[in-house]
Subunit: 337 residues, 2 copies
Amino acid sequence: MSRSPRASDVAARAGVSRSAVSRAFTEGASVAPDTRTRIMAAAEELGYRVNYLARSLKEAAPSKLVALVVSDMDHSLRARLVDLLARRLVARGFRPVLLPWSQGDDPHRVIDMMLNYNVSGAIVTSDTPPGEISQQCARFGVPLVLVNKAPVDARAARVVQDTASAGRMAAELLHEAGCRRVLYAGQTRASFTIDDRRRVFCAALDDLGMTLAGEVTGPSQNHAGGMVAAGRYLAAKDRVDGVHCANDFLALGFIDGLRHAGVPRRDWPAIVGCDDIAEASWPAYDLTTLRQDPELLSEACIEALATRIAHPNSLAETRTISVAAVRRGTTRKTDID
Amino acid sequence: MSRSPRASDVAARAGVSRSAVSRAFTEGASVAPDTRTRIMAAAEELGYRVNYLARSLKEAAPSKLVALVVSDMDHSLRARLVDLLARRLVARGFRPVLLPWSQGDDPHRVIDMMLNYNVSGAIVTSDTPPGEISQQCARFGVPLVLVNKAPVDARAARVVQDTASAGRMAAELLHEAGCRRVLYAGQTRASFTIDDRRRVFCAALDDLGMTLAGEVTGPSQNHAGGMVAAGRYLAAKDRVDGVHCANDFLALGFIDGLRHAGVPRRDWPAIVGCDDIAEASWPAYDLTTLRQDPELLSEACIEALATRIAHPNSLAETRTISVAAVRRGTTRKTDID
DNA sequence: AATGGCGTTGCACACGTGTGCAGGTCCTCG
DNA sequence: CGAGGACCTGCACACGTGTGCAACGCCATT
């Protein structure tokens, strides 16, 4: 067999017109049960499959392709999110097309790819995507969902962490642990969510009668960045009793920095991270953190996208995902070494 | 503007035929430079983009979509691999469609999705994919690349870890550390690569004059599984001086299990993992392991796929990716606690 | 000036499918 | 027996693009 069979091949074999074949594979179309079974049998023998790309040429039937713009998949939470998004999209009959985008890449490349394959919609989870993507999507009528991004266009739906309660929660966890003077460790060029949470966190410190002893920001907010932050902390050690890190990787790196410097466990400051990645619960760290549930996050994204596709002209909504405090060892006093 | 502009709209605006527009957007087609610039200007004004789905209807021009069958993206190495594969595919003009597949899912669903969107090819990295996928791909002429899988079909290209040298390397690392009686920690239902490596490892132990004191296998080969393995190790503690874990997550869990049980650092057995995930280099673990370079792995996959697409009828080849020993703390004697 | 060649252009068909419309069949009811 | 309706089917067109073929214009060569 040189080329894959098409509807007319099936029609010839079943002794019907090509239209009948098309209708047999269309939900709710008008076909006699007898005819349908005969068509299906012929299709089975030939190994026929409907070509969705051809089907999607009719403007009424969208392509069902959804662009997933992603960066930094090495961040385990983001990888998990992509995994869940892909699963849910497939379950709803969509097909996720993975479009990696890194800082420095030309945004037009991503836009071109989306438009060339006239996707039904797009979900953007990469960090600091240029407003250009949002504008172009709006211009060409591509339904768009932004994850943890600042509002850039009224026609782009958003799913964002509840930073207002997250920031406050971080402060309260340190307060519970008896902290008075705390440090904030973050990134020089942070994301929208992190910036917003930091702002709320600082305000909450005041409310609770604590003081911000300082901020440590570096170029990276990964494990290595956390180790650097630990070095900076050690210089101000005696004036600080608690630390809030912008994310868990930073916090784990911070802990490894302390460990590397030989600081015994009982002398560690209270530490609160954010995200609750899998590693945070490992005994080596046992990190107190704020859980951002990727199940909820992904579900909200899919629903927002579906709404956006169904009502393209409605005003874009913003969905807020609440966070939960996960109390673990790094905010408990311990006697063990 | 209700619908997106098509080639005929651009043609009308530029005062040429639709064929001229098509040629203007086709590399190497015969168009006068003057005409081309006029067409491009008109296209720019209208925001016209070539519809690749329509283009791919012509059998000569393939869809450029490539299926990426993936499971367990929470495994950080696999997430990294998917990230790199997506980047390289995009760089070569392909579009990766992410198709998650988990143990228990119906393989026919994945096959249907691939054929419905008549993909140019497929890369399968999920664990233990049923032979059915390979057979169907071969039947319908879909170029296929299997990552770290057993050979199931002569027409499917494979990219596999060099298990022969990896297994031996693991044994040698333990030998270097002065081990005599070692334990193997793995999974009851392991993957092809892991099984093969284990086989070589056991044979190499004999060669080097070491003995296999036992095997610990559980249902899962993640961090939790490693902690369970540590419990089993402690029972046979005095008869064992080295451990090889099937992968790094298992090894890290093993270490956390020791830590949880209060075993001081200097009493740990020598430990060798496999993969060299990011966490392995963190000071909390400092794990000796075998590095499987995802850059090399992904590049080999793309090249194998490209070869397969270019010569669909050639015999499928198998590419072997070598591993490198990464010597770290868990195979060094230490005095610190 | 005639001829040949080359570069450019348009026509028409192909790719694989969905669907409005009209015609056909068959059943039911009056 | 006739009328009407419900159900099914095929024709023909549409979706947006690539490309073989032939025609055309222009230039250089003879």
